[in-house]
């Protein structure tokens, strides 16, 4: 057992966790933040993407203990009260989700993608940046559209 402390969605949390506890397990099972999903056991699908100190990380590839002292943001933490993040809005407006299981990871990955590449994103960049996120429902067509729309909306707001 290890005692860990970190900040999750703006709140300080501490817990005793088994050494082998993955960050995603800690987030889902201990903190009850079930928006972060587990879609695979080989770190391929990206359903579990969260931000650790502002960067997108597959939370199934990291031990909870490794996240000690860090700042974590999950899908539950990106809206400002009732005001959704522009990426959330874009996914809704462009039908960028069907079953919704991949969606939190997609949105968190998009946030990071726009932070790294800026809002001037072409389709090819988006598609290659989505390498680590699998969606089985949408064929990605509307996910790409959503990401483009989010980037434009963010550019317009700048």
């Amino acid at each position: 057992m290890t005692t860990i402390a970190m900040q999750v969605n703006g709140k300080e949390v501490t817990a005793d966790v088994e050494d082998r506890t993955l960050l995603v397990q800690y987030i889902r099972e201990s903190l009850g933040l079930t928006g972060t999903h587990v879609g695979c056991d080989t770190s391929q699908c990206g359903a579990c993407v969260v931000h650790v100190d502002g960067k997108a990380v597959k939370s199934c590839t990291m031990l909870a203990a490794q996240a000690a002292g860090k700042t974590i943001t999950t899908i539950e933490g990106i809206a400002d009260g009732d005001t959704l993040d522009p990426i959330q809005v874009a996914f809704h407006e462009n039908h960028g989700l069907q079953c919704g299981f991949c969606t939190p990871g997609m949105i968190m990955a998009t946030k990071d993608m726009i932070a790294r590449h800026g809002t001037d994103l072409d389709e090819k960049t988006i598609r290659s940046e989505l390498e680590g996120n699998i969606c089985r429902c949408t064929g990605y067509h509307n996910i790409v559209k959503s990401i483009q729309a989010a980037a434009s909306a963010m550019a317009a707001a700048e």
């Binding site: 928006g35 999903h37 587990v38 080989t42 809704h92 079953c99 290659s128 949408t138 064929g139």
Partner: protein, 787 residues
């Protein structure tokens, strides 16, 4: 069309919870005192269990129980069933071998359940599962279809000689043979339809919970059809009586068929919860387990021949298919290669004589059952590969060959059961050809050649059959259930509406489209409509969602229930307004006397129904109606797809440079959602054509492609943007004229892709998935032949 009514591009009501991380999937449920199940699974494809020693596991920390198949048998829990009876050519019923939820004597595929460990935490359960010692005597295994039916092959079930569960046939054998004897041209092909893993992104989960005081069970389950699960678990498996079993399928993260079936794991979780005294038992599949135990799809090996006369009219089609059913017959596995496959072999064409033989073959592999399209992709692949190949052999345009043979008059009775009710195949073909600028293709081919790329174009004109029905017909063909749907409309006293439906949404957007229908009929905003589904305690009964049936069948039931709501509303309003019932119209949320300014709000009529202070003579209070809808026929969506590819001759890598789909789905409720369904289907079909495929080791029966590292799921950069559009002929068989759109993309696209690649490389000998290696090898054959 109103802003929220039929045909409107309405944004989805259900999105908010998903984009904010507040969806409620089965694994998100955390019941008090939950225990966790981990299955001990066979590492062998075929082995005799000589002994199971659970003592070390039982002594491990946190372990609550370790249970095996013999305890399941002691408790008289039945095996898994196949719910569709198919008869062999000689009239004998299929030979379905036993399928215990936990193997007792013999394991038959890698991943077969051998024991289950239940512990305080998931980690403890998995640790202890490692300590269960199973003494196996390995037996020879067979995974290959052709090998499995050979004399001397390892045998899986004593009932099924030569591993054949049934050898079934459809059509007229003699007439078809005569057509071939008289043919001007015959085209023959060996066709393999590759085995796929459905892989919805949410893995399967089951939570079984037994209440000893009430002797009542609850199952939370990733299911596409909770009522069917309840029926099978109670009436056939015998875990619990139906009135003592509640099945809840909350948000479900995709299904594509794989969550239709009733599997061993949910059976075990329910049973185990009682065994351990009523604490909930939760099992969450990991992805590797999903690869091993979720039912796979496709896996056909086919010999197909087409006969044509001197005018290039098809005169006959002959097909012999070996269909892999895996180690056990899954819930609907028998229907897929037969009634969902061979009955569609006429495609969009007038084919007077068809004869198809299907042998369902057991192998030491995971069970195979319906996966998006279920049988229809296999049929389309056979027909559309033959069409393209025939055109090439005859030296005529593939477009012309199709046009020459299109069915143009409806209704049309095919020689293989189906009676197509409506369609306009020329319309969707023309739409696809013009959207793809088909006529200018050769210019693009030349331009690509100047860049060193091989460009090809391929067509596919598919037909499918949705909304499997009517119940009496499917019953006569062997279905163990009826395939109708039910709906209940509850109007609340304030005029808001709840729709209880037997359909189940796992990505299809029912909460929006079903509400759009209510808006269309009653004029109330969709935000005042709540769709209730996925809980057997709330919805009386229903058959769930698969086979693109929720629109054509599920919404038809809602429509019928709305008819009754409208009728009662009008009668009551006429009474309240002292007008004639015939003059009452419902419009924009108002109940009006036509041609006057007399009106009541719909909510006022609803309130009047509940206060019941002033009702017409004999009218019951309240405003709630239900309906069951049983279709009169299947529906027949159809369309044309054009795929254009560029192949890099150096690497064999294929890039899809254009994909055009023109589909006829009949009436469309929400074009945004329909487009999305097509996109998703196309991705799965293109995935099958280019990337996906199971590989089993032929000697050991190990699934080599058992993770996302080894099984190539389509990623964003594997796929193009899709150009989708629709044409429309209404389905005459249901009140809304709908046909269904969920599977079309996966059905129509694989042959379009392979036809395009084979066109590009000038070699027709190419199997799916067309990986760069295979394409490169085919190119070497082409150039060797040219030398």
């Amino acid at each position: 069309m109103g802003a929220e009514g039929l045909g409107a591009r309405v944004l989805r009501k259900e999105d908010k919870r998903f984009i904010t991380g507040r969806g409620r999937y089965t694994d998100d449920y955390d019941l008090k005192d939950t225990t966790y199940a981990a299955f001990v699974r066979s590492p062998h494809a075929h082995a005799r269990i000589k002994n199971i020693d659970v003592s070390a596991a039982e002594a491990a920390p946190g372990v609550v129980a370790v249970l095996t198949g013999s305890q399941l048998t002691d408790d008289k829990i039945g095996g898994m069933i196949c719910g569709w009876m198919v008869h062999s050519k000689d009239g004998s019923p299929m030979n379905a071998g036993a399928h215990p939820a936990i193997a007792v004597d013999i394991v038959k595929h890698v991943g077969d359940q051998v024991a289950v460990v239940i512990a305080e935490t998931n980690g403890q359960a998995r640790d202890a599962a490692e300590l269960v010692e199973v003494d196996y005597e390995e037996l020879p295994a067979v995974v290959n279809l052709k090998a499995a039916v050979k004399d001397g092959a390892p045998q899986l079930h004593p009932e099924a000689a030569n591993n054949i569960s049934f050898d079934w046939a459809i059509g007229e054998k003699d007439a078809t043979e005569a057509a071939f004897a008289a043919a001007a041209n015959v085209v023959s092909m060996d066709i393999t339809n590759n085995r796929l893993v459905p892989n919805p992104m949410e893995p399967r989960v089951a939570i079984g919970s037994y209440d000893p005081a009430e002797e009542h069970y609850t199952l939370y389950n990733t299911s596409q059809n909770p009522h069917l699960a309840r029926l099978i678990l109670s009436a056939f498996v015998g875990v619990a009586p139906e009135h003592k079993l509640r099945v809840i399928a909350p948000d479900v993260g995709g299904g594509f068929g794989s969550k239709i079936f009733v599997y061993p794991e949910e059976t075990v979780c329910l049973w185990a919860s009682k065994r351990i005294g009523g604490r909930p038992v939760k099992w969450t599949s990991d992805r590797t387990e999903a690869f091993l135990v979720d039912a796979h799809g496709r896996d056909h090996v086919t010999e197909a021949e087409m006969a044509l006369d001197e005018n290039n009219k098809i005169t006959g089609l002959r097909v012999h298919t070996l269909a892999n059913i895996g180690a056990y017959m899954s819930t609907f596995s028998s229907a897929v290669p037969t009634y969902l496959h061979a009955t569609l072999l006429s495609g969009q064409y007038n084919i007077p004589n068809i004869y198809a033989e299907i042998d369902a073959v057991y192998t030491n592999t995971s069970p195979v059952d319906a996966y998006r399209g279920a049988g229809r992709p296999e049929a389309t692949y056979v027909v559309e590969r033959l069409m393209e190949t025939a055109a090439r052999q005859l030296g005529i345009s593939p477009v012309e060959l199709r046009r020459t043979n299109f069915i143009t008059e409806f209704p049309h009775q095919t020689p293989v059961i189906m009676a197509y009710d409506a369609g306009d195949y020329e319309a969707s073909l023309s739409a696809a050809l013009s959207a793809s600028d088909y006529d200018a293709f050769e210019t693009r081919r030349e331009e690509a050649r100047s860049r060193g790329k091989l460009r090809g174009i391929g067509l596919s004109c598919y037909i499918e059959a949705c909304g499997i029905a009517p119940s009496a017909a499917v019953g006569s063909l062997g279905a163990g259930v009826g395939l109708w749907e039910s709906a209940e409309i509850r109007v609340n006293p304030v005029g808001t509406v709840e729709v209880l439906t037997g359909s189940h949404s796992h990505g299809q957007g029912h909460e929006t489209t079903f509400a759009q229908l209510v808006n269309e009929r009653l004029g109330i905003p969709i935000e005042n409509v709540q769709i209730v589904h996925g809980d057997t305690d709330k919805v009386q009964f229903g058959m769930g969602t698969y086979g693109s049936r929720s629109g054509a069948v599920g919404m038809s039931a809602i429509s019928k229930a709305l008819d009754k709501i409208e009728a009662k509303t009008k009668k009551l309003a006429a009474h309240l307004l002292e007008a004639s019932e015939a003059d009452i119209v419902i419009e924009g949320g108002q109940v009006k006397v036509a041609g006057t300014d007399q009106a009541l709000g719909f909510h006022e009529v609803a309130l009047a129904a509940y206060t019941a202070h002033n009702m017409p003579e004999g009218m019951e209070p309240g405003l709630k109606e239900g309906a069951f809808y049983d279709p009169t026929n299947f529906t027949f969506p159809a369309g044309s797809y054009v795929c254009e590819v560029e192949v890099d001759p150096e690497t064999g890598r294929t890039e899809i440079v254009q994909f055009v789909a023109a589909d006829d789905f009949g009436t469309i409720i929400n074009p945004m959602i329909v487009d999305g369904q097509v996109h998703g289907g196309l991705a799965q079909g293109i995935g099958q054509a280019l990337l996906e495929g199971c590989v089993y080791d032929e000697d050991t029966g190990q699934l080599i492609t058992a993770s996302f590292m080894d099984y190539t799921m389509p990623r964003a950069d594997d796929l193009p943007n899709f150009q989708v559009s629709t044409t429309k002929t209404e389905c005459p068989g249901n009140p809304l004229g709908m046909k269904g759109c969920g599977e079309a993309g996966a059905i129509g696209s694989p042959p379009a892709v392979i036809n395009a690649i084979t066109d590009a490389i000038g070699n027709n000998n190419l199997s799916m998935p067309a990986t760069p290696l295979k394409v490169w090898q085919a190119l070497q054959q082409t150039s060797a032949a040219a030398e």
